[in-house]
Symmetry: C2
Subunit: 344 residues, 2 copies
């Protein structure tokens, strides 16, 4: 076993001072040719690499960014994560992930763990419980300490910070509009409970599209499912009573489940019922029939979040310009597949 070598070791071995070694390795003008070469050769030979921790302590910069997401076994979040990781890595940053499990307490604990020097900034999507409780003190603390924060997807107006979201409302609006234009009359909405910010926005788009086309809102056509939905019966009844000819679902899983139920009941897709889901994930692509869905461009979202964060981190060092926060909006796009009739 050969443990890591330090500046001190090199200095002792070569009979020079630590400062000289440090400077020689950074090719400082201050050091003579011979000494530099000697030191550099020695360092290469013993594969010297500076200790990240020591450097972090000195510069007060860790080159780590903290990512807190509600769930990791989740297509959208991992897609965003990939965007973050790619960009961050390219800029020399590492990513520390914590999973809040949709729980407020875990979110708080994780943030506190990381906020004590482990990271230079946060990227996060709020947990369901946090949105429900509407308690954002932990975020407030972070920003007050001057730690940069970027919120994505699951955001809140209560906190002043950079954000990146998609135009959920507009995307839902357009999806429903397409269905209306295709002649569908009884368009259902399958959504989660209201406290999830994004679901609310999507519902809003749904309402708007109906309204704009003079269709009355029929609450019998709206199904709210618990987030961890296993409730087959509820959905089955819904189909029997509502008899929709099109369904907009706020996520993939709901869409797939509903398609199964519709198929079981003998409806043809998309002739009798059309389906559109949100989140263009792996399920949409491989479903049978393949599912038309709204692509949230997760990777792009992650990349932009990382970009905004790193820019803020690196600007913080320089000077103290007064804070200005941005909210970037990514345009969702609809991926047409076989669960809808061909739109014009």
């Amino acid at each position: 076993m050969k443990p890591k070598i330090t500046l001190k070791h090199i200095a002792r071995e070569l009979d020079v001072s630590i400062s000289t070694v440090s400077k020689a390795l950074k090719n400082s003008e201050e050091i003579g040719r011979d000494t530099k070469e000697k030191v550099q050769a020695f360092a290469k030979l013993y594969n010297y690499k500076p200790n990240n921790i020591a450097i972090s302590l000195k510069n007060k910069r860790t080159k780590n960014i903290g990512v807190i997401i509600p769930d990791i076994v989740h297509h959208f979040f991992t897609t965003v994560f990939r965007g973050i990781e790619k960009y961050a890595n390219a800029q020399g940053y590492n990513v520390i992930v914590c999973v809040s499990d949709e729980a407020f307490d875990k979110e708080v604990i994780n943030m506190e763990m990381l906020a004590n020097g482990s990271i230079d900034g946060f990227i996060m999507a709020l947990s369901g419980e946090t949105q429900q409780k509407n308690d954002f003190n932990h975020l407030k603390e972070i920003t007050e300490q001057g730690i940069p924060l970027v919120l994505f997807d699951r955001v809140t107006d209560e906190i002043q910070c950079d954000k990146v979201i998609i135009n959920d409302m507009e995307a839902a609006f357009l999806a429903v509009k397409k269905l209306i234009e295709a002649g569908r009359k009884r368009i259902a909405l399958v959504t989660t409970e209201d406290f999830l910010n994004v679901s609310a926005k999507r519902a809003e788009g749904y309402y708007m599209a109906l309204k704009e086309n003079g269709i009355a809102i029929d609450h019998g056509l709206i199904l709210k499912l618990p987030y961890q939905m296993q409730d087959e019966i509820m959905s089955e009844k819904f189909f029997d009573f509502a008899k929709p000819d099109a369904v907009l679902c706020v996520n993939e899983i709901f869409a797939i489940k509903c398609m199964r139920i519709a198929q079981k009941k003998g409806y043809r897709i998309p002739e009798d019922i059309a389906f559109i889901g949100f989140t263009d994930g792996i399920l949409s692509k491989y479903a049978n029939p393949t599912l038309t869905s709204v692509d949230q461009h997760g990777e792009e979202m992650g990349k932009i979040a990382a970009q905004m964060l790193i820019e803020k981190i690196e600007r913080d060092d320089d000077q103290e310009v007064e804070e200005v926060f941005e909210t970037k909006i990514i345009s969702a796009t609809m991926v047409e597949r076989d669960s809808t009739p061909k739109f014009s």
Copy 2:
């Protein structure tokens, strides 16, 4: 903005020494009641939290573990990751993830970035390219430096370290055996190219089951697809020529794709063709028909990997017992669904 407070600040403010503050906060016997109370009250008031980086430097322990996986938008890997993260977090560790993207160079670079003090140990699954090149010098370096390493799923015999895998061969063997017992004669195997360790093992189990049941191996029944398979044509032809009555696929996606093709060709599932996939992920559950598949128990795997790693990390501190490495084998189990006939 109120920046982080340090021991030095408290010491200056309360007119005591830094050492006194440090000890007082740890409730040391050495410090008098009054002083302790004074210091603790002040610390609470200003929400003092020790700086992780400084502590890491001092103890030479970061309480971070590095996880390197080939892909993050991948059901199995994220499932393992969840297991790792849960256990690690419970033990006070944070997780730094790097994605190798199946590329050798990225794997090496990521390891080197993290190995310089950022983490106390690694958990990883080898990238495809690494397995192909059979070059494990980066792993060797790590272990020689005394950094604990746990390999999972995609492992190699070349490196002496802890490992956790599933009994791929046996699982494939049992799956094929079930198919044989159900009367299937022409059992196909759809796999990746050989260099992926796990695929090779699964193929081996397939061979063994055939052999044991006196069925000759028909290479016309074996289809090897490139890892990022988009090659519909290849698979279509395969079905026409091979005319299998059962198919074992080494992953979910292959299975779903093959099911689609079979359905398109008018086969009934499972009456005409049965399908079994590996990786019991979200696709298996929501496919149509639902897919019988081999559950690799990713979360359990991650938990065990984290357990082994942390144990090694914390034992390393204590004494220098001679190294002993374990390979834990997790039993895969088959989840029966609708793509296979009912097994007895």
